[in-house]
Amino acid sequence: EAGVAQSPRYKIIEKRQSVAFWCNPISGHATLYWYQQILGQGPKLLIQFQNNGVVDDSQLPKDRFSAERLKGVDSTLKIQPAKLEDSAVYLCASSPPWQRTDTQYFGPGTRLTVL
């Protein structure tokens, strides 16, 4: 079974530029999550999708961050404009719909550096 795929793996941008991250969850997984992991901290949930609908985006800075999950499969997370404090690893995770185990499977992440 293929894991969660993310691209790019690394991105360096200047502040005020825009950036987009892509995630392909495990096939058949209905729930998709985007987390932000700042160096030395635990991941923090940004947004949760159930199929292509948003379940929770309470911690997403909506003035600069946006996310979509078209057709309930792939997802993109965008930052526009980026700030220095957005430097972090952005993790995508997915979980299957048929068991209430709450198990989430994480991708390798995209490391963003904002200069």
């Binding site: 969660v4 729930t31 999550y33 030395g40 901290q41 635990g42 991941p43 923090k44 949930l45 949760q48 379940v55 929770d56 993790l91 995770a93 979980s95 185990t101 709450d102 198990t103 989430q104 499977y105 994480f106 991708g107 390798p108 992440g109």
Partner: protein, 113 residues
């Protein structure tokens, strides 16, 4: 925001020793407590998890001890190996936060040969 507090921040153990990482949670609605292991450059991977209806769960060298009244749980790694060197995160979820994992700050474990 409901938090999960984790300690210690870093831990150094000799090969064959016992590693113990502790977590405390605030949200009494949490009903699922996983531990994730993360190696450098990789995403977190589920290691072991427990629900509050049991006080202990063991899988190989890894054991979770759970104290519901104290709202605390801990990870014990027996016979620690250099390959266990990684960052460990505890987390909680449940109630209205179902699916939303709240992570601890992480513990960097180093096992010396």
């Amino acid at each position: 925001q409901q938090q999960v507090k984790q300690s210690p921040q870093s831990l150094i153990v000799q090969k064959g020793g016992i590693s113990i990482i502790n977590c405390a949670y605030e949200n009494t609605a949490f009903d699922y407590f996983p531990w994730y292991q993360q190696f450098p450059g990789k995403g977190p991977a589920l290691l072991i998890a427990i629900r509050p209806d049991v006080s202990e769960k063991k899988e190989g060298r890894f054991t979770i001890s759970f104290n519901k009244s104290a709202k605390q749980f801990s990870l014990h790694i027996m016979d620690s190996q250099p390959g266990d060197s990684a960052t460990y995160f505890c987390a909680g979820t449940g109630g209205t936060s179902y699916g939303k994992l709240t992570f601890g700050q992480g513990t960097i474990l180093t096992v010396h040969p």
